[in-house]
Symmetry: C2
Subunit: 121 residues, 2 copies
Amino acid sequence: MPSRLIASRELADMFKLLAHADRLRLIEELRAGEKDVTGLAVALGLPTTRISQHLGLLRAHRLVEERRDGRSHFYRLAHPFIADWIIDALPLVDIRLRLKDTDHIDAARALWSVRDPNSAC
Amino acid sequence: MPSRLIASRELADMFKLLAHADRLRLIEELRAGEKDVTGLAVALGLPTTRISQHLGLLRAHRLVEERRDGRSHFYRLAHPFIADWIIDALPLVDIRLRLKDTDHIDAARALWSVRDPNSAC
DNA sequence: TGCAAGACTGCAAAATCTTGCAGGTGACGA
DNA sequence: TCGTCACCTGCAAGATTTTGCAGTCTTGCA
């Protein structure tokens, strides 16, 4: 099989993994550092079961790493660079929407770019 | 609705659009310049109907633009930057696979990065 | 040891995507 | 005008994802 085809499929798999708002928000949360499942569930306002399922996917594809401490499971980004790369896509979202007013994209960029994401909403 | 949530959803929509090997290959083909539907179908070895459907999606989200000339419809990338951004993700694919041997990813990077993609396979 | 907290997994229903096919539109040439 | 070429759209079957729920596992603590 040609390299070109392999690369497309592998890339598509990774895009598929990121093609869910919950999982993008998880990556965003983890950008600030490791967090346990309950903490993430509270931050996103979702049931822990769902968070756990998403984390299971991200973990299976080695985008996050797990550390256990007592009863808690702490997760962190395996490669924080991915968060920066996602931020790079914001201009494309902007374009895609063809907004006259790009304020909320700018706001989002600021939120994703801020040192401590939890200081803003 | 918070900006953060909007951005996640819009980003997820765009990732979803890119989460298909055929569509990634279309973007790759168009990186070299505009091409008509039949040309793309031949390049990818797929039926024109399917190509047309994929292009319809990409067009609806303004990732490609169309120009008609006689019976042919020529497509081009609305924002060629997207192809560069996709190339930036190859290291993540690499990591995701945790390959001992990254040769075929290197080969893919070379293919995506080459000036004229049609000179290589 | 018994119980509860924190998290994971399996499963099935619901939602979403993909794909081929049948049929339709507009442009070109005889 | 008629036929063909290049392409698009609608639709339904099939495949894949998402989601909630029930049940399980491990750890900490009394």
